[in-house]
């Protein structure tokens, strides 16, 4: 029962807000309440999974593989917990910054349904159901992205919508083909049936469709174009959720299917993944180095960091995948936080343009500190969370003699640091280029507290993961071991 709640709860609150559509002022409080509930549920869930191992729920009482099954293993429960944390952080931040117009047009219910879709994608054990959750997530993100209807939003949305729908079309075709091959949709059942096909090599062909489809969603090279074209256009709270969670659903899906279903020809598929990872790491960071806009730099960095996660998958060892998972955890927290900080800067100066910003460190040293923590963590500076993630994947790469990708990963660390210092120099250290202009100040205490609170919270998590990485690494390691031993998953879903 507990396992379905991460989907049901945001759905319920989303419906509730729609029922009280006109009372949009209450939406934000309901949203906050719902996010707290989600945090509690997700913590209970992961606690249960740690204690009892993988838990499943056969929806409608139809036993797998006939109905849809929901599965919580460690990996998916970790993702659900982080989603809840990000949901909570943005709930606070939205209360501080969201305008009434967007609230009036369903901003909060959309947010809840987005979270429902994300949780659904993490928890489902059925490949077609995964498609459905992807669509739930996508359509809500479409609307959240376009909500407001400014020209740049619309242009960003066009690219985002089109490319993601192309991905969905490929995904759907892949699902159909899988059913045509194996006659089942349950992922555990697929893992059992596919190796027994007459020509199991067909699986590899289908895996390519999934690689491309999920590759687009997770924004890897050369499929990432939609991301830098759109993530900097909506309000900060929206980009923060997107930046933190959406691409990671793609990464989650990649890791899930390429550890459970498509493992028949690892030397082929996972080499491709590794090459893609290296190119993603590199092109993303170079893209970031070229930008002069706060959020665009951050957007390109997402791509680069996705590469590191995929690298963990491509290396395909226990440490590598643990590193990849740790990377996901770290990155979601840190990237969301950086987008929130960028939003805060925008509240103060009404621009994201690095050329027009400056002098903020002198006036707001605390904001500077709150930027530095996630920024340094993102660059992999120890002892913050990013270091441990990078350390794990690099160590795994060295252990497997994959020196080229290790070299790329290390070198890019330097460029990451460079682009973070670029923001730091231009926004914080540099003298304000428009000194004569008057700027907004945030005098409203409630607004100040609500926008600072999530930033501080996420920064604290970054520091805690950094200083006390042991439990986090441990759980990532256990999750990775579960992924690498699909029999456990299969047994949990199908029985014997």
């Amino acid at each position: 029962m507990l396992i379905a709640l991460p989907i049901i709860s945001p759905f319920f609150f989303g419906i509730l807000m729609m029922l009280f559509w006109k009372n949009f002022k209450a939406h934000s409080y309901l949203n906050l309440f719902s996010s707290v509930v989600s945090v509690i549920i997700s913590v209970l869930l992961i606690d249960r999974v740690i204690e009892q191992g993988i838990i499943t729920l056969q929806i409608g009482g139809w036993k797998a593989p006939f109905g849809i099954v929901i599965v919580a293993d460690l990996f998916s429960s970790i993702m659900v917990v982080i989603t809840a944390v990000i949901g909570f952080a943005t709930a606070l931040y939205s209360m501080a910054t969201m305008d009434h117009d967007r609230e009036k047009f369903g901003y909060y219910p959309l947010l809840q349904i987005l979270l429902m879709g994300i949780n659904g994608a993490f928890l489902t054990g059925d490949i077609f159901n995964l498609y459905v959750w992807f669509e739930v997530m996508l359509i809500s993100s479409f609307v959240l992205l376009a909500l407001g209807g400014k020209r740049e939003q619309l242009e960003g949305a066009i690219k985002y919508v089109t490319l993601n729908l192309l991905s969905s079309a490929l995904f759907l075709a892949g699902v159909g083909i899988l059913y045509g091959l194996a006659g089942t949709l349950n992922m555990a059942d697929l893992a059992v049936k596919l190796p027994n096909l007459e020509d199991p090599e067909m699986t590899t062909v289908v895996s390519i469709l999934f690689l491309i489809a999920f590759g687009i969603k997770s924004a890897v090279f050369p499929l990432f174009f939609w991301l830098p074209a759109s993530y900097h256009t909506p309000p900060a709270a929206v980009s923060a959720v997107f930046a933190g969670l959406l691409t990671k659903v793609g990464v989650y899906a990649l890791i899930r299917v390429f550890t459970l279903i498509f493992v028949n020809d690892i030397s082929f598929t996972h080499t491709i993944i590794l090459v893609i990872a290296a190119l993603t790491i590199l092109t993303g960071v170079l893209g970031a180095a070229a930008q002069m806009n706060f959020r665009r730099i951050l957007s390109f960095h997402i791509i680069s960091q996705i590469g590191y996660m995929i690298m963990g998958l491509g290396l395909f060892s226990s440490l590598a995948i643990a590193g990849g998972i740790l990377y996901i955890i770290h990155h979601i927290i840190v990237k969301t936080n950086l987008f929130l900080v960028s939003g805060f800067v925008n509240e103060l100066r009404s621009t994201y343009d690095l050329k027009k910003l400056g002098g903020l460190y002198k006036l707001y040293p605390l904001v500077g500190l709150l930027f530095l923590i996630p920024a340094l963590s993102l660059s992999g500076i120890p002892p913050l969370s990013g270091f441990w993630a990078k350390y794990s994947v690099i160590k795994a790469g060295i252990e497997l003699d994959e020196f080229y990708i290790v070299a790329v990963a290390l070198f890019v660390g330097l460029l990451t640091l460079f682009s973070m210092t670029k923001i730091w120099h231009e926004v914080f250290w540099k003298k304000n280029p428009e000194e004569e202009k008057t700027f907004n100040t945030i005098n409203n205490t409630k607004q100040k507290v609500l926008s600072f609170l999530p930033i501080i919270l996420l920064a604290l998590i970054t520091i805690i993961i950094g200083l006390n990485v042991e439990p986090f690494f441990n759980i990532a390691q256990k999750a990775a071991d579960q992924l690498l031993n699909p029999e456990i998953y299969i047994k949990a879903v199908l029985g014997n």
Binding site: M1, L19, G61
Partner: protein, 138 residues
């Protein structure tokens, strides 16, 4: 939008028919082609027809309920039909059926309630989209 007398008179009689037909489609869905989705669409077309005949403001008044409410209600009903079995110790969305057959309706159970949710959502979204676009054109 101009309205013609003949059309609006015809529509007056057509709409109840369409609504009944939609309900019929919905009910037989469990055993014959049909179901909540198609039923909802037919119902929506009834309101669309009304709007063409009498104008969109009239149609909104005629509907009495804001489409978003319909959508929300539909979703809520679908969700509740899934939650109810949980009070009986069953899994989420498990079907529960009344033992005896009802006249006209036949068997009654939570999957049917779920389908009512689908029906309402489809009705709600179709009218919402049509009304929004029509208002835009004005």
């Amino acid at each position: 939008m101009k309205t013609s007398v003949i059309l609006s008179t015809a529509v007056k009689y057509l709409i109840p028919l369409l609504l009944i037909f939609s309900f019929f489609l919905f009910l037989r869905g469990h055993n014959e082609p049909g179901g909540g989705f198609v039923g909802g669409l037919v119902a929506a077309s009834a309101f669309a027809l009304f709007a063409i005949a009498n104008g969109f403001d009239e149609a909104k008044k005629f509907m009495k309920i804001e489409p978003i409410m319909l959508i929300a209600l539909g979703l809520l009903i679908a969700l509740l039909s899934g939650l109810v079995p949980m009070f009986f110790g069953l899994d989420f969305l498990t079907g529960i059926w009344f033992e005896k057959n009802f006249p006209i309706i036949g068997k009654l159970g939570t999957p049917l309630v779920f389908d009512i949710g689908v029906y309402l959502v489809v009705l709600g979204i179709s009218t919402k989209i049509i009304f929004s676009l029509a208002e835009e054109e004005k």
